[in-house]
Symmetry: C2
Subunit: 320 residues, 2 copies
DNA sequence: TGAAGTTGGTAAAAGCTTTTCTCAGTCAAC
DNA sequence: GTTGACTGAGAAAAGCTTTTACCAACTTCA
């Protein structure tokens, strides 16, 4: 304890926190000695008093981390400067496990909780609506009167289709995931708005093989073929690119392909690398982090859903 | 506070913890009322006294999460039953950031730290050797006299090559990552032990395109071609499979391909899905978690490097 | 010279648990 | 009827900080 090396406990505390009245010389001396002996205040004791643990919990059901990791990076990035650490709790759609984790976080007096997931239109399997700590939802369905951050899939889809139109593509098909996903419907809506109804929307699953199969279907039909594919995610896009190559169709010369998600490991390794839409999940995490911090500090935050714009990442699968 | 609903503070505490002397009837009543009002003890106050925060820190420089996520899952899985929560701190090879995170964890009185990374033969850019909390290394280079968990890459490689031999392959080539990786050398050593020196080892980088190029190189050489490829990771394997298909060579009929890592997103989406070696990172995380807990509780743990066996995951890229 | 204000610092309380110590009451035994 | 053992429960301390209240010494002013 720093007091051993100088003055009383209270004087030491005031010296280190730049509060209270005392001689400048005393203050300096205490600070110096604290530095020398490497004194660091115990955050537990501090938290006990201040009711702030400088700790938040991140709850996710995205075991694979595809969405959670960027969100986590953004949160951590935003909060590390404020001395806030993050408990990561992966619950795998298991309500009991989720409750266990929430209870553990609450016991540890987290200042707030951020709930995130792998799907915009699904809830986590645990009720967070009546906790006495603030809760912010990021990339998962929130409750009434909560603060929710999500990507603007409509704008993202428009970005993609408008890009294809801009580089001269006219017969743009949309190959995407299961229709019961909210974001699938939203993207498809934006697609129709921009591209019209000339080409079909093919609903399927989120896999490469579906992308592959979809190309087979499209090219087996009679009549003119698409000159561009707007895919629901990068995996579908990759499957599509592979299928096109196998058919001897050149990407991007003959057909432009655009993905969604900007999942580096897929998008960058595809040949050619995929032009795709990035949902800016890190930024989403950053804002969620700052928001939960604001709520924890009692600053007012307007409830509601905040849509964050997507960004087009241009690589080589579109040409133009 | 439960005491409001019955007896004194100390009696309440003793009742809930099943300690001290008191009437069975009183104990029951306190427990019941505590349950009714949803009382949960404040872990901060408890930690202040017991010197145990039931919190550990996980430090990683693996931004992408390829290795960290399974390790994290294992740790969490092992420790959630003990009421321990995990701070995840992603430091991106940034020493200052790493120190910030370590300081924050120490302030929060973590019971221990697990260091993990993306490479067995590299250290994290921060010195953890003289902390007053236990440190366990998992999938990253540890310090003298520390406890380190790692995969047994030699055994994993042997598993792969022996499998290829068992299904009748005789000309097994090894396409792998950069030779300065320790695990690359270790796997190559095991490969030579089992397969001899008839076929070459091709060192390159950890990417699909290298797998692709390596096949080009191998098949451009004069003389007999390999009938099996043991690849250094799943991405290389995938690139190789794609290249073979483009050359009209059938996998697994003509050539067997085996990967390493069992990275689902790559291994399972390859056509055909990859047979590969799983490093059991989740199990590794689990053991690291239990070990750091043991150390935190003062139980003795033998220092040293613990190699965990790998497991062969058979899919369809080898036939046999 | 006495009153009022200023300065530099300490003592103590509060925050929530757990643990140890103490105390009043009960019962059995001599 | 007094002593000793035992029982059930509460008081208090400890764990580490921060904050408030307080005190002694010194300065300023009338």
């Amino acid at each position: 304890m720093a007091s051993a090396a100088g003055v009383s406990i209270s004087t030491a505390s005031k010296a280190l926190n730049d509060t209270g009245r005392m001689g400048a010389e005393t203050r300096e001396r205490v600070k110096r000695i604290a530095g020398e002996i490497g004194y660091r205040p115990n955050a537990l004791a501090r938290g006990l008093l201040s009711k702030r643990s400088f700790t938040i919990g991140l709850l996710t059901n995205d075991t694979y981390g595809r969405f959670t990791l960027p969100v986590m990076a953004g949160i951590s990035d935003a909060l590390v400067d404020h001395g806030v650490s993050v408990f990561l709790c992966a619950i795998e759609d298991d309500p009991a496990l989720a409750q266990t984790h929430v209870d553990a976080m609450l016991d540890k007096q987290v200042d707030g909780i951020i709930a995130t997931g792998k799907r915009l239109d699904r809830r986590l399997p645990v009720d967070l609506s009546n906790l006495h700590v603030p809760v912010v939802y990021a990339f998962t369905e929130g409750t009434q009167n909560s603060v929710t951050f999500r990507s603007d899939d409509e704008q993202g889809a428009r970005l993609a289709v408008e890009w294809l139109a801009k580089i001269g593509r006219r017969r743009i098909a949309h190959v995407t995931g299961p229709e019961d996903f909210f974001s699938v419907r939203e993207r498809a809506g934006a697609y129709h708005q921009v591209a019209g109804h000339r080409e079909p929307v093919l609903y399927g699953v989120w896999s490469e093989s579906w992308g592959h199969d979809a190309v087979e279907q499209l090219w087996k039909r009679p009549g003119e073929k698409p000159d561009a594919l707007f895919c629901g995610n990068d995996q579908i896009a990759r499957g599509a690119v592979d299928a096109l190559r196998e058919r001897g169709i050149k990407v991007p010369q003959d057909v432009s392909v655009i993905g969604f998600d900007n999942w580096e490991i897929v998008a960058a390794q595809t040949r050619p690398p995929l032009t795709t839409v990035d949902m800016e999940l890190k930024e989403l995490g950053r804002q969620a982090g700052l928001t939960v911090l604001a709520l924890a500090e009692g600053r007012p935050v307007e409830p509601g859903v905040r849509k964050l714009p997507c960004r087009l990442v241009v690589r080589q699968s579109c040409g133009g």
